[in-house]
C-alpha cells in the first residue's frame, strides 16, 4: 500500500488550533479488568454499556458483559464458551444481540489451545479470525433464554438494531460458503475471508434475511441511523482502504462520506443526527485516531483524538453528552485496548464541522 498520507491535509488552516480537549474532557479508562476490551455500546436509556472483554481466566476469547453505571457492577450475558463479538441492546425490549461461536463443539478445544499458547510466553500480532461458526444470537435478560438468529455457515456478526427494535442490519461472509468458489476466490478465502463480507438486513426474529451489498471487499460495522438509514464501512478490494458509507435499508442510494484513501471504519452516528464519528489510520498505519464527518460527507472530516496508539470504535451516548471508545492509550496492562469514556462537547463539534473546508480527494 502506498500510504495515503499527505502531510498538508492533516491540518488545514482553520483546524490547526483544535486538540483532543476541544471535544473530549475527563477522558478516563472505564474497563480495567482483563487483557483487552472493546466495542462498548450504550443501552437506549444510557444507564448501561454492553461490551466485549477478555477477562475470564478460563476463556481467552471475548465474552459479552453488561456494565451498570449506577452500581459499577459488570455481569456476563453471553454463554461463556467460545468467541463472541459485537453486542447491541434491542430498543424497547430486554434482548441483547451478539455474535457467538458457542455452538461449535470445538470451542473448548480452541480455548485450551489459545491458553496454552499464551502460557508459552510467545506472542503474535493480534488478529480477528472471522470464525465461520460465528452466528448472531439474542439473549433475553429477563428470561435468560438465548435464541439463534442466523444459521448460515460463514461469519455473521457486527450487527445493530433499528431505532424501533424491529430490524437488524449485519455483516455476513456466507457468500464464501454457499456456492462453489473459483480457484482465485478459494485462494482469496484462505488469505482473507473478510473479502466476502457483505451487508445484510433481517427482521429482529431472524426472518427475511436480505443482502444489501454485492461488490468485492469487506462490508461491515453496520448500524442504523436515527432516520432509518444504514451507515457502514466498505473496504476496497485491496483490503487496505476503507470508507464510511450510508444507504437506505433497501440498499438504494449508496453514498460515500469519507475519502482519506486510508482505513476509515467503525462509523457511528451522534444522536443529534448531524454527524458520524469514526476511526481512521490516515495519520499512520498503526495510529488510528477518531474523526468525525458531517452527515452528507460534504466537508473534510475533523480529527477528534490526538493521543498516540490506537483510538477507535467511538460510540456517543444516547443523550449525546458522552463518548465511549476503545483505546490503547493506557499502556501497561491496558496496552491491548480498553474502553474509555469521555465527556463530549457537541457544540464544539458542530462549530468545527461548520468551519471545516470542503472534502478533499487524496493523491493516489
Amino acid at each position: 500500500m502506498a500510504l495515503p498520507i499527505s502531510a498538508s491535509s492533516a491540518s488545514s488552516g482553520s483546524q490547526s488550533a483544535l486538540s483532543e480537549s476541544t471535544f473530549l474532557s475527563r477522558v478516563r479508562r472505564l474497563t480495567v479488568d482483563g487483557k483487552r476490551a472493546g466495542e462498548g455500546y450504550w443501552s437506549p436509556d444510557g444507564k448501561r454499556l454492553v461490551f466485549q472483554s477478555e477477562r475470564d481466566p478460563a476463556n481467552p476469547f471475548y465474552q459479552i458483559f453488561v456494565l451498570d453505571f449506577a452500581t459499577g457492577d459488570t455481569k456476563r450475558i453471553s454463554p461463556g464458551v467460545g468467541k463472541t463479538t459485537c453486542a447491541f441492546f434491542r430498543p424497547g425490549s430486554s434482548e441483547i444481540m451478539f455474535g457467538s461461536t458457542h455452538l461449535d463443539p470445538k470451542s473448548k478445544q480452541y480455548q485450551d489451545e489459545e491458553l496454552a499458547f499464551r502460557a508459552s510466553g510467545k506472542e503474535r500480532r493480534y488478529a480477528w479470525d472471522y470464525d465461520p461458526e460465528m452466528d448472531i444470537f439474542a439473549v433475553d435478560e429477563k428470561t435468560g433464554t438465548t435464541k439463534r438468529l442466523t444459521t448460515a455457515r460463514g461469519y455473521d456478526a457486527e450487527g445493530g438494531y433499528s431505532p424501533d427494535g424491529q430490524w437488524i442490519v449485519f455483516s455476513s461472509m456466507r457468500d464464501a460458503y454457499n456456492r462453489t468458489l473459483s480457484a482465485a476466490e478459494q485462494k482469496q478465502l484462505e488469505l482473507d475471508a473478510s473479502y466476502f463480507a457483505e451487508v445484510y438486513i433481517m427482521k429482529a426474529d431472524g426472518s427475511g434475511q436480505t443482502r444489501l451489498t454485492d461488490w468485492p471487499g469487506y462490508d461491515g460495522g453496520t448500524f442504523f441511523t436515527k432516520d432509518g438509514k444504514i451507515v457502514w464501512r466498505h473496504f476496497e478490494e485491496n483490503g487496505l482502504v476503507a470508507n464510511v458509507w450510508t444507504m437506505n435499508p433497501d440498499g438504494s442510494d449508496k453514498k460515500q462520506l469519507t475519502d482519506f484513501g486510508a482505513m476509515s471504519w467503525a462509523p457511528y452516528e451522534h444522536p443529534s443526527g448531524e454527524y458520524f464519528v469514526f476511526a481512521s489510520n490516515k495519520l499512520g498505519f498503526e495510529n488510528f485516531e477518531v474523526f468525525m464527518v458531517d452527515k452528507a460527507g460534504a466537508k473534510e472530516p475533523v480529527r477528534i483524538t490526538y493521543t498516540a496508539g490506537f483510538d477507535g470504535l467511538p460510540v456517543p451516548s444516547p443523550d449525546g453528552t458522552q463518548m465511549a471508545f476503545t483505546s490503547a492509550r493506557g499502556g501497561g496492562a491496558g496496552s491491548a485496548g480498553q474502553i474509555y469514556l469521555a465527556q463530549w462537547n457537541h457544540e464544539a463539534a458542530m462549530a468545527a464541522l461548520k468551519a471545516a473546508g470542503p472534502r478533499q480527494t487524496p493523491k493516489r
Binding site: 474532557s25 475527563r26 477522558v27 478516563r28 479508562r29 472505564l30 474497563t31 480495567v32 479488568d33 482483563g34 444510557g46 444507564k47 477477562r55 481466566p57 456494565l67 453505571f69 449506577a70 452500581t71 459499577g72 457492577d73 459488570t74 498516540a308 453528552t321 458522552q322 493506557g330 499502556g331 501497561g332 496492562a333 491496558g334 474509555y340 469514556l341 465527556q343
Partner: protein, 607 residues
C-alpha cells in the same frame, strides 16, 4: 489545581445519581482541606519521625479518630504504637593501631583518617591482615563466578577491601559486580567467612581516591556483627608497605575484573581497630485505631480491612532525603502531598464508614518512619497486634494530592487477581483515568504489607517538582480530586467490607535482584517519574545544577537510550546507570513530546 470547577460539574453529569453516597461531599471536602492544611502547617515542623512536630501531628490525628468514634486496637488503651529506631549515627572516636613485628604501634585517629562505617559494631578487634581485593561475592544463583574470598583464609583476620568495584572491567561485569558492591553487603560477606573486622580503602584509581567513606545515615538499630571502618590512604600506607607492593599496582590488578586475581595475606603486621559508633536511639509513633464491625463477626472470613498512610515527613530535611536547593536548605519541609494528602484520605475514609454499617473491622493506620525506610509499617507487620492472616487487604495512600489530567495510579495490583475487577467497579462512579501497575515493590508502606503476604494496593498521583522540598505546601493540593481519591478508595473498601470472598494474595516476583546500591556512587541529577507507564524513563524533574539539567534535560522528557542501552522502564535505567562512569560523557537519546533528541550527559560523583 487545574480545571477543578469543571471536574465538579462533570461529576454531576456522569451517571452518579444512583450510586451509594458513601461520602457526604461538602463536609468531607472541607475537612480534607483542613486536615492537609493542619498537618502541613509550620506548627508541625515537617513531622520528622521522633520530633515534637511528629508528636503534635499524632495528637491531631488521635483527636480526629476520637471524634469519629474510632477506638484503640483491641486490648490496647492508646492509639499510639511506639517503635524504636536509630535516628542517626556518628563516629565517637574510632582508632586504628598498626603494629609491625618488632616495632612500636602506629596510632591513627581523626575523622578524615579513620572512621567507622555506620553499621559497624562498637567494639575492639585485633588480628592479622588479608587483602581481599574488592571484597565482592556474587551469589552462586547468578551463575557468574566471582568470589573475592576464593582460596583465602580470613578466619579471625581483619580484611582490607577496596571501595566500589573493578574500575577497568567490561560493562557487563561491572553491571553484575555493582549490585554486590554495597559496603553492607561486603561486610556481610566478610563476616560470613569468619573475618573479625573489615577495613575499606578507596583506591587511588577510583573516584574519591584515598578518602574515607562519609558516615551515612543508617537506621539500623544494632550493628552488623562486624567491626568495620574506612581508612585514608595515609593510614593504609604502613600496611601496604608491609606487603612490599604499591597500592596503585595492586588495585590495577584487581581492576581488570578477572576473577582469578587472588587476594593475599599481608605478613608481619597486625592491626587493632577500635570502632566507636554512637547510635542515637529514638522513638517514633504509629497511630492506629479502628472502627469495629457493627454486626457479629461470626463466620466472617478475615475480619479486618485496613487503610493507611504515613504521616511523617522530612522535618527540616537535615537527616537525608531532602531535595531542597541551597537557597531553601534547613527550611521546614511541609509535606502537604507527601503525605498529609494520604493521611487526610485515610481520615476521610474513616469519617465515611463511621456513619455506615460495617461487616468487618476497619483499621485506620497512620505510619511514622516511612521517610526513614518504612520503619513504622515494618515494625507493625513484624509484631502485628493481631495475626495478619485476619487482614483481608491493606490499602495505602502516599502522595495522592496532585491529580493532574484526571490520572490516578494504582500500584501493587499484582498482589491479587481480584484487584482489577474491584477497581473497575469502584471507579465507574469515581471516574478516574486509572493507570494500573502490578509491581508491589514500591518505596512506600505497601512494601511492608506485600512482604507480609497481605493483598495490598497503593494509590499515587505522581512525582512533581516540589517532591521532598520545603515547597510541597498545602496551597498546591488539588482538593476536589483528593476527595475523589477517597471516594474511589471507599468504593473499594465498601466492597471489601461486604464481600464473602477476600482477595487471595499473589506473590509478585521482583523484577531485578538488587544486592546493594553501590551503583549510586554516580550522580546524574534525574528524578524518575515512578508512576509513569510510558515506554522509556519519564523524568518527573531534574535536580537544579545537576548533570541532567546541564545536559538540557527537563521534566517531561522521556529517556529512551543511555550509553547505547535502550531504556524501556525504570529497571533498565537503574541497570544502565551502573554502566556509566563518573566524568565520562554518555550519549542520551530522549523524546521531548514527539521530538526525538540527543544530548550528552556527564555523570558526576556522589559524595
Amino acid at each position: 489545581m487545574t480545571n477543578t470547577k469543571h471536574v465538579v460539574v462533570a461529576m454531576a453529569a456522569a451517571c452518579l445519581v444512583a450510586s451509594t453516597p458513601v461520602f457526604s461531599q461538602t463536609a468531607t471536602s472541607s475537612r480534607t482541606r483542613t486536615h492537609v492544611e493542619t498537618l502541613a502547617s509550620d506548627k508541625f515542623e515537617g513531622r520528622l519521625t521522633g520530633s515534637p512536630g511528629e508528636k503534635l501531628a499524632a495528637d491531631y490525628i488521635i483527636s480526629e479518630l476520637k471524634r469519629m468514634g474510632a477506638r484503640p486496637l483491641p486490648g490496647l488503651t492508646d492509639f499510639r504504637l511506639p517503635f524504636t529506631f536509630t535516628a542517626g549515627s556518628k563516629d565517637g572516636g574510632t582508632t586504628l593501631a598498626i603494629t609491625k613485628a618488632g616495632s612500636a604501634p602506629q596510632l591513627f585517629s581523626g575523622a578524615t583518617t579513620v572512621q567507622a562505617l555506620s553499621f559497624s559494631d562498637s567494639a575492639e578487634t585485633s588480628g592479622a591482615i588479608v587483602m581481599a581485593g574488592y571484597g565482592l561475592v556474587v551469589p552462586e544463583s547468578q551463575n557468574f563466578g566471582y568470589d573475592s574470598y576464593a582460596g583465602l583464609d580470613v578466619k579471625d583476620k581483619i580484611v582490607v577491601v577496596f571501595r566500589y568495584f573493578p574500575e577497568d572491567a567490561d560493562q557487563q561485569t561491572r553491571a553484575i559486580l555493582a549490585r554486590y558492591a554495597d559496603l553492607r553487603y561486603k561486610a556481610q560477606a566478610a563476616r560470613q567467612r569468619g573475618a573479625k573486622g573489615m577495613l575499606v580503602v578507596t583506591g587511588p584509581r577510583s573516584p574519591n581516591a584515598g578518602a574515607v567513606v562519609p558516615m551515612s545515615f543508617d537506621t539500623a538499630i544494632a550493628g552488623s556483627g562486624l567491626v568495620a571502618a574506612s581508612i585514608s590512604s595515609e593510614a593504609f600506607a604502613p600496611i601496604m608497605a608491609a606487603s612490599g607492593k604499591s597500592l596503585e599496582a595492586v588495585q590495577k590488578e584487581f581492576d581488570s575484573g578477572n576473577p582469578h586475581v587472588a587476594g593475599f595475606a599481608i605478613p608481619d603486621v597486625t592491626v587493632t581497630l577500635k570502632a566507636n559508633v554512637i547510635r542515637q536511639q529514638q522513638t517514633g509513633n504509629n497511630v492506629v485505631g479502628y472502627l469495629p464491625a457493627t454486626a457479629p463477626l461470626t463466620g466472617v472470613n478475615k475480619p479486618w480491612v485496613a487503610v493507611g498512610a504515613h504521616y511523617d515527613h522530612l522535618g527540616r530535611g537535615t537527616t537525608g532525603g531532602s531535595l531542597a536547593g541551597k537557597d531553601e536548605a534547613n527550611q521546614i519541609h511541609h509535606g502537604a502531598d507527601d503525605n498529609a494528602s494520604g493521611s487526610a484520605t485515610v481520615l476521610a475514609i474513616g469519617d465515611a464508614f463511621s456513619q455506615q454499617p460495617r461487616k468487618r473491622h476497619l483499621l485506620l493506620a497512620f505510619w511514622s518512619g516511612e521517610e526513614l525506610g518504612l520503619l513504622g509499617s515494618n515494625a507493625f507487620v513484624t509484631k502485628p497486634p493481631f495475626p495478619l492472616e485476619q487482614m483481608s487487604a491493606y490499602l495505602n495512600f502516599d502522595m495522592v494530592g496532585r491529580v493532574a489530567g484526571n490520572k490516578l495510579t494504582v500500584q501493587a495490583t499484582g498482589t491479587s487477581a481480584m484487584w482489577p475487577r474491584l477497581l473497575e467497579q469502584a471507579n465507574i462512579a469515581a471516574g478516574f483515568d486509572l493507570v494500573l501497575q502490578e509491581d508491589p515493590y514500591q518505596p512506600t508502606d505497601v512494601g511492608s504489607f506485600n512482604t507480609a503476604s497481605v493483598a495490598c494496593l497503593t494509590f499515587f498521583t505522581g512525582a512533581h517538582q516540589e517532591y521532598h522540598k520545603p515547597s510541597d505546601t498545602a496551597d498546591k493540593i488539588n482538593y476536589e480530586d483528593l476527595v475523589r481519591v477517597g471516594e474511589l478508595a471507599s468504593g473499594v473498601v465498601r466492597r471489601l467490607m461486604d464481600s464473602a470472598d477476600v482477595p487471595q494474595f499473589t506473590k509478585v516476583e521482583q523484577k531485578t535482584e538488587t544486592g546493594g546500591r553501590a551503583g549510586l556512587r554516580l550522580f546524574t541529577g534525574t528524578i524518575p517519574d515512578y508512576a509513569s507507564d510510558v515506554k522509556g524513563l519519564l523524568l518527573g524533574g531534574v535536580i537544579g545544577g545537576g548533570p541532567a539539567e546541564q545536559a538540557g534535560l527537563a521534566k517531561g522528557d522521556v529517556i529512551i537510550e543511555i550509553a547505547g542501552q535502550s531504556i524501556t522502564n525504570i529497571y533498565d535505567y537503574t541497570y544502565a546507570l551502573e554502566l556509566l562512569k563518573i566524568g565520562e560523557p554518555a550519549k542520551v537519546v530522549y523524546m521531548r513530546g514527539s521530538d526525538k533528541r540527543e544530548t550528552t550527559l556527564t555523570p558526576s560523583a556522589r559524595k
